[in-house]
Symmetry: C2
Subunit: 343 residues, 2 copies
């Protein structure tokens, strides 16, 4: 049996697992939360202890790493972490190769997830796909010709900051109407909060830019935001994207409006990307994609309307769930060791 | 000397040329306008006569073809022409291979232009680029890893129908605010005409959706549309994209507004694509890109503002000019014959 070691530096958590090549079942699996004052050194120390605890005397044939932040995948150097201090220019691949003497592959979590879904999940058998994670942020990773496409500077996949509505709300990046500004969980919560705080204003003032389409229309019924307010006991600081989705599923019109706008933004982004790159599949993962059938219906409908009729594609759910980074890391490890080129 | 035959089925014109492998100077060159009632048969007959007139007794080593319409490049079959009847499902590669007994490559004009600029023009030495033509339509072609990327169904490159402004004017495709709707020559002319026909309306009503940015602001000066009206002797049916560009260069504020909106749309599209694919270069060709420094300044500024700060790219002018399809056809021919893989 040939062993693979998969590592996930996830920002707030660290995970490691081992698997035999060809198997889809973890041999061993360890997970820890990053401590409150984590830095790169403490993260590396914790990961090292996880690894030695997992491996005991076994020796893996390759290591794959998913890192939650920008990585130069060609050298395996972490550029920085947005969550944990001290990760600037850490040669993670080099450190692990020196310590374990085996091939190591390192990439950012979106590219790793794309590769994981391609190899083991919803992208199996598809040579071209775009993986999109819709969670606290919105990011993506490409598979083209069966291989990761990372871009000239390793920056490809940034659907999150594609401008969808130039008259939309201002994003953290400074632009207006980015996909992330409209579709990420925290921003959905913010959008709902702003509407609730301003609930007596006429509805028309709330969506100046997006034309009143089928998906954004009011359906009448439950009073705006009633259910959503109930879920947080009127404390709007407690709103989350997940609660918006729950309220929408329970029939809350205001929550539906916010959720539909997020789905609309994702759908326009996907349709634009279908026109531009014509991949076979879009694979969507992350917390927001658990928002229910209504969300998926709008995403698919808007994507289909935005793409040219001749452009075929499917929009499907990721299937690897919470283990996406680790299964992606296995795929990266297999790429890193030329012996496994055809595994 | 090894001879290459390059063919261009351009919709309204047909061209053929020969060149020796390694040379950048045409040996012979012929061009004809398509007749008014052209169909696929007459186009093929004219092209055949051009070819035999060019070749005399010489025998080329490969043929490359640029076709102005959708092509299945894997089989070299034309899907249809938007300009000339009867091209549906014509196996152009097969016809030429049967007649001349040598390798033939056929692709649509945007992919061919991308390959031509990559091999002989502004894309030399760049492994990843997106070629954009801005003319009567707006289209594009990809080079990734030094090879054409055509998409799963051969439809990649459709920047023209990327939605940039969901509250913008309605495009022929049925959507609002596509790049082509805002930036193509004929639509620029239409936008100018509509403003002139409605010139007494307050300026604010003319751009409801795009925020008043630096580029769209009025500068005062010449009265709106005066120069533009003069260029067409007040006959607004004579307006063209080129005249809009000329009037803008001469200081006409209304023409500048239309041109800047086109440049803005292209810039947003380029910035979005830079975030998504991170290519090294954007190479822009086509009549609208001759609109002058002001146009280029806005395109580059908006593209830079739209892309994330970490995403590097250049926006440059195509250099092959009117011969782009034929030089691209040479590149396609070299790809079609494995002997020239390293030429």
């Amino acid at each position: 049996m040939t062993l693979i070691l998969a590592l996930d530096f996830g920002g707030t958590k660290l995970a490691a697992a081992t698997v035999n090549v060809g198997s889809r079942k973890w041999l061993r699996y360890e997970r820890r939360l990053s401590p409150a004052n984590a830095n790169a050194s403490t993260d590396l120390e914790i990961m090292r202890s996880l690894i030695y605890s997992l491996l005991e005397d076994a020796k893996p044939a390759a290591i794959g790493v998913s890192f939650g932040g920008p990585v130069d995948a060609s050298t395996g150097t972490v550029r920085l972490s947005h969550h944990v201090a001290g990760w600037e220019n850490i040669p993670l691949k080099g450190l692990l190769e020196n310590e374990f003497g085996i091939p190591v592959g390192v990439d950012n979590d979106a590219n790793v997830a794309a590769l994981g879904e391609h190899r083991f999940g919803a992208g199996q058998g598809y040579d071209s796909l775009f993986y999109i994670t819709v969670s606290t942020g919105v990011g993506g990773g490409w598979i083209l010709n069966g291989q990761p496409w990372r871009g000239a500077g390793g920056m490809a996949g940034e659907i999150g900051h594609m401008v969808i509505d130039p008259a939309g709300p201002v994003c953290l990046c400074g632009k207006r109407g980015c996909v992330e500004r409209l579709a990420s969980g925290p921003y959905m919560a913010q959008n709902a909060r702003e509407i609730l705080e301003n609930v007596d204003a006429p509805a028309a003032s709330r969506s100046q830019s997006v034309p009143e389409g089928k998906v954004a229309q009011r359906r009448g019924g439950l009073r705006d935001g009633e259910i959503l307010r109930g879920l947080v006991g009127d404390d709007l600081t407690l709103l989350t994207g997940q609660l918006v989705a729950e309220a929408a599923a329970a029939g809350d019109d205001l929550a539906k409006e916010v959720l539909h706008k997020a789905a609309w933004a994702l759908g326009v982004g996907i349709g634009n990307i279908a026109n531009l790159m014509n991949p076979q599949r879009f694979v969507l993962g992350g917390g927001v994609t658990k928002a229910g059938e209504d969300f998926w219906r709008v995403v698919r409908q808007v994507a289909r309307e935005t793409a040219l009729p001749e452009v075929d594609f499917e929009v499907v759910s990721a299937t690897l769930g919470d283990d996406t980074p680790l299964w992606g890391a296995v795929a990266i490890a297999l790429l890193a060791n030329p012996e496994f080129a055809n595994e």
